[in-house]
């Protein structure tokens, strides 16, 4: 019964219902090939949303993920142009390390200087984008300048699904294990749930938030390379405004903005919901201009829903406390 009531189940049902409605009129949408392509198309959003989830769990927010993605993607592309022969592993390692370093900058400022995360990441967001401009003087790096194995890697198909989709699945599995089974994962939930209690249990709140930003940055860096390679283009404004989609995916997936509550699976479903909507609109012949309004409405409904379920729980606890007196 509780499984039926859980937010994940309801969201899963919503996605299923949405897909079914579309399928009754446009059977082409639910062919395995198309579903795989929808999943692959949503993978970057899923990977970023999982990083964002970790940050939001610790009562912070990371608005710099899209800028981090763009900067790391650009650096990967520039390395590829300068040294086309470099093996893929090196590019991936560079993406992960650079992303982690950019995330660590956010983390240090939040941890050591106690600057509110929204201010820090608002600042680094504009700084990262600006640095791309300084590196490139506004020039684009186009498909013909990149080497074939650089752009081909995320598109290679394994068992019918592109590597990009597989990376999404692998990251999801790793994150599930880390969040549920590792000390750090539990510390992240503890810090968000009750920072005071976390301090008394020996958890360093600031340090945990620092790690959360590093995780978010690392995943943003990874997505940066994947994004640039998949679309075969890198310029200053790639993924502009994407940070809000990422936050939206988390909120729809049931991550509480107040911290401490949210699951990897829920976040995945939140991202998938946005992905299905985005991919379904052209199929059912609704102008893509509707997408923004629909995701906005979805965020509001989701947050209203989150608050409602959270509040009824709180009331029960209060009542029992009154009875105890």
């Amino acid at each position: 019964m509780s499984a039926l009531k859980s937010r994940e189940a309801i969201l899963f049902g919503a996605i299923l219902a949405l897909t079914t409605v579309i399928a009754t009129r446009f059977p082409g949408f639910v062919t395995p090939t198309n579903l795989v392509s929808v999943f692959t198309d949503t993978s970057p959003l899923m990977i970023l949303a999982m990083g964002q989830m970790v940050v939001i769990l610790t009562r912070c927010i990371d608005l710099s993920v899209a800028a981090n993605l763009a900067l790391t993607g650009m650096v990967c592309a520039m390395i590829n142009v300068a040294m086309p022969g470099l093996p893929m592993v090196v590019i991936l390692v560079v993406a992960l390390i650079l992303g982690a370093a950019l995330g660590a900058i956010n983390g240090i400022l939040v941890w050591k200087l106690s600057i509110p995360p929204i201010v820090v990441t608002l600042g680094t967001m504009t700084i990262f984008r600006g640095i791309i401009f300084l590196l490139t003087e506004g020039k684009w790096i186009n498909a013909h300048e990149m080497s074939p194995h650089f752009t081909g890697f995320p598109r290679n198909e394994i068992l019918g699904m592109p590597v990009l989709g597989w990376i999404g699945i692998i990251v999801a599995l790793i994150m599930m294990v880390v969040m549920a089974r590792s000390t750090m994962g539990r510390a992240i939930y503890a810090v968000g749930g009750n920072p005071h209690a976390a301090v008394y249990t020996g958890i360093d709140v600031g340090k945990t938030q620092f790690y959360a930003f590093v995780i978010s940055g690392t995943l943003a860096g990874l997505t940066g390379y994947l994004w640039v390679a998949r679309y075969s283009v890198a310029y200053v404004d790639i993924a502009g405004g994407f940070e809000l989609d990422v936050v939206a995916a988390c909120v729809i997936g049931g991550v509480s903005i107040a911290g401490g509550a949210g699951t990897v699976f829920g976040t995945l479903l939140g991202a998938l919901f946005l992905g299905v909507v985005k991919n379904a609109l052209p199929v059912v012949d609704i102008s893509p201009f509707w997408q923004l309004a629909i995701s906005g409405a979805a965020i509001i409904v989701a947050v209203a829903f989150n608050a409602k379920s959270g509040r009824s729980k709180g009331r029960v606890i209060l009542k029992s406390a009154e009875h105890a007196q």
Binding site: G123, T124, G138, V247, A293, G296, V303, R311
Partner: protein, 333 residues
């Protein structure tokens, strides 16, 4: 958001700060930065010290500052509105629709302001009636309002606004003083008095410092917050009138990204993003600092995106430096 609950709040035990405290206060620091930027610009470019150029420079910040005043009060009360730029887009779009139906300038202005007010009421109702966190609600309405604008306009645009409508964004009150600048000054005085000299202003501070305490001392917290959302919406509507009038056209992408510049302006002005403290004079000086930096770098042919690096560094720097200084002093003593 992060350390808010683990840090103890500093409550001043005397109301009149000493002269020294004034000298090292935030506003003075900011004023020094503004003067430094002004002097630097005057030496760096021969075109800077020209009345008309300086007048043009004010357009960089007047529209943003109108919203920033209301946003400052909202942030002091512990809430935030990230949908302001989208309210501009929606107001501007609705004004465009009204214009197509043949509305004259007074009706256009009324339509713009009303749309802003309704958007603010929508945000306010979701936050105060349903008790939702404002940061998420306004991220949602940010997509929703601009989304409606996109549904109405798609990739089109409204142009052909009546000639008399241009007065708000392109008109001059006298000599080089633009209409927008006059509105900016009047609003600065209005919000300065409202926040610092009225009961309402005290309530805003009280709510930001301790909402529960404010409620127990008889402040209708939800109503005050609702009014603040209404004001922020109304100011966004006003900014939409000015911006649409200045550009003479409406596209759904109008003012995109402006919400972050406005929050930057407010934080730079010394408003605590966690609520409870800050002043309107601070925001006024921050508006000038941002305007002068943007304009001065523009005269030196620095591209807009590089300016944003300066704004970003300024935002983090002005908050980080005093804290670094405090850490350094603690170590040496």
């Amino acid at each position: 958001m992060s350390h808010a609950d683990t840090q103890t709040r500093h409550v001043p035990d005397r109301l009149r700060p000493s002269l020294y405290a004034h000298l090292v206060g935030w506003e003075s620091l900011l004023l020094a930065v503004a003067v430094a930027v002004f002097v630097f610009n005057a030496f760096a470019s021969p075109y800077f010290l020209d009345a008309w150029n300086l007048s043009d420079a004010t357009f960089n910040f007047t529209e943003k500052a109108m919203i920033a005043f209301a946003m400052a009060m909202l942030i002091i009360a512990g809430e935030i509105d990230l949908s302001v730029a989208s309210i501009i887009a929606l107001s501007s779009t609705v004004m465009g629709l009204a214009m197509q139906m043949g509305a004259g300038t007074p009706v256009l202005v009324l339509v713009g302001l009303t749309t802003g007010l309704l958007c603010g009421a929508f945000n306010g109702a979701l936050v105060t009636r349903l008790g939702l966190p404002s940061i998420v609600v306004t991220i949602g309405t940010m997509s929703l309002f601009r989304g409606v604008s996109y549904i109405i306009l798609g990739d089109g645009a409204f142009t052909r606004y009546p000639a008399s409508f241009a007065w708000f964004g392109q008109g001059y009150a006298f000599w080089v003083i633009s209409v927008e600048f006059v509105i900016f000054v009047l609003l600065a005085i209005f919000f300065g008095i409202l926040l610092h000299k009225t009961n309402f202003g005290r309530m805003v501070y009280a709510i930001g410092n301790n909402a529960t305490g404010a409620l127990f001392s008889g402040i209708r917290v939800d109503r005050v917050k609702f009014v603040l959302f209404l004001m922020t919406g109304l100011m966004s509507g006003l900014a939409a009138v000015c911006l649409t009038s200045r550009l003479g056209s409406t596209r759904p992408s109008i003012a995109s990204g402006m919400e972050l510049e406005i929050v930057t302006m407010v934080v730079l002005g010394g408003i605590n993003i966690l609520g409870g403290s800050g002043s309107i004079p601070g925001v006024v000086i921050a508006a000038f600092v941002m305007g002068l930096v943007t304009f001065g770098l523009g005269l030196l042919n620095v591209p807009g995106i590089v300016m944003s690096i300066f704004i970003g560094l300024l935002l983090i720097g002005v908050i980080a430096l005093p804290r670094l200084w405090a850490i350094w002093r603690k170590r040496t003593v």
